[in-house]
């Protein structure tokens, strides 16, 4: 996030290619990791989401040049991410905080 200057688009093709191959590698890695039993399903899910997160960061950060984008846009996306997470986790939490002895089926 640079605030002072207008964003300098990354014209280096090599940089983009690097990100590209990182993304391909990441895809391979997720598939591979999903077949390895890490002990519990949760760990597998965590690893897959972590890799997906990194890949998403690469796409958003470099292909969409978010990391060199202005603060305003980063703020908007930041709030959006926050509201998305609160929607997901508060709902999830609400579904796990029924009065005791409630039966769900």
């Amino acid at each position: 996030m640079n605030d002072g200057r207008s964003p300098e688009p990354v014209h280096s093709v090599r940089g983009y290619l690097f990100v590209y191959f990182a993304l391909l590698a990441g895809t391979g890695l997720t598939v591979w990791a999903s077949f390895i039993p890490f002990g519990s399903r949760e760990i597998n899910i965590g690893i897959a989401l972590l890799i997906a997160g990194v890949k998403a960061f690469l796409v958003a950060g470099y292909f969409m040049h978010l990391i060199s984008e202005r603060k305003m846009i980063c703020n908007v996306m930041g709030f959006t991410a926050f509201f998305f997470l609160s929607l997901m986790f508060l709902t999830l939490y609400a579904m796990h905080d029924f009065p005791p002895t409630t039966v769900t089926h």
Binding site: R5, S6, P7, P9, H11, V13, Y16, L17, V19, Y20, L23, L24, T27, G28, T30, V31, S34, R41, N44, I45, A48, L49, I51, A52, K55, A56, V59, A60, F63, M64, E69, R70, M72, I73, V76, M77, T80, A81, F83, F84, L87, M88, T91, L92, M95, T104
Partner: protein, 265 residues
């Protein structure tokens, strides 16, 4: 007065109008898919058993490669314009379009596969599962006449169909089995109605596919008739390519989450 900052960035915000607009639009898209992702998490957490390994991982991986490739060609197309190389732009954008079509092709093949895939509850309490090869001419489930033929296998309990990812499941022998209608209690394919997993799978990927189609239409326009603007207003055209590219990357980004979430986990 004309509308300012349609091409040049506004000094204090550093972006031109359309770029601001597309980012705002993407924010709303995040919430749209966010709603569906929340639904996914909730349904999954609430389910007794969540299917595993129901989708074709090699195809999914291939499709991921295709989309990532289309993403880089979009960036490179924009870079080409920035560097004043119009014919390279045409080439890269063409690749993007081919990738988009390829993605949709693979996706529709996968859809078809699911619609051909049947689970049959047998009268003896067992379950048959597999791809439909054909039904006899007089097949009528209501009247219990005729028979169906599947390429698949039988299991004792429905939960055995849930995890096709586990090692034993991967080595199950599939064969052609013919089941007379009298032995069938219930029969249904793996369409969205099958269970909450297929429901969210079809909804999420369907909505994603609509985005791919929309993006492809825009990119196709900018590649074809829209590219005439390069002659009259190159800067504005470059901006348009950038904006459509942002949308395209976003579609890619969604897939990056959809793939592990639906195929692998």
């Amino acid at each position: 007065m004309d509308i300012p900052y349609t091409v040049q960035p506004r000094p204090d915000t550093g972006v031109y109008n359309a770029k601001m607009g597309i980012w705002l639009f993407l924010a709303s898209e995040v919430m749209l898919f966010g709603g569906l992702f929340s639904a996914y998490v909730l349904l999954r957490v609430g389910a007794d058993a969540w299917p595993h390994g129901w989708l074709n991982i090699p195809l999914g991986t291939a499709n991921t490669f295709v989309l990532i490739t289309s993403s880089i060609t979009t960036v490179l197309a924009w870079v080409s314009l920035k560097n004043n190389q119009f014919s390279r732009f045409k080439l890269f954008h063409a690749i993007t379009l081919v990738c988009a079509l390829c993605f949709l092709g693979i996706k529709s093949f996968e859809y078809r596969d699911k619609f051909m895939h049947y689970e049959i509850t047998l009268a003896n309490g067992k379950f048959a599962d597999g791809h439909l090869i054909g039904k006899s001419r007089d097949f009528d489930l209501a009247k219990k006449t005729g028979s169906v033929t599947l390429h698949g296998y039988e299991v004792d309990q429905e939960v055995d169909l849930m995890d096709l990812h586990r090692p034993e499941a991967r080595h199950i022998q599939r064969e052609e089995i013919t089941i007379p209608a009298v032995e069938i209690k219930k029969m249904g394919n793996y369409g969205p109605w099958h269970n909450t997993y297929t429901a969210i799978y079809f909804t999420l990927t369907g909505l994603h596919a609509l985005h791919v189609i929309g993006g492809a239409l825009v990119i196709g326009f900018l590649w074809g008739p829209g590219s005439r603007m390069w002659k009259t207003d190159p800067e504005r055209f470059t901006n348009r390519v950038e904006v459509s590219g942002l949308f395209w990357h976003f579609v890619d980004l969604i897939w990056i989450f959809l793939f592990p979430v639906l195929y692998l986990l």
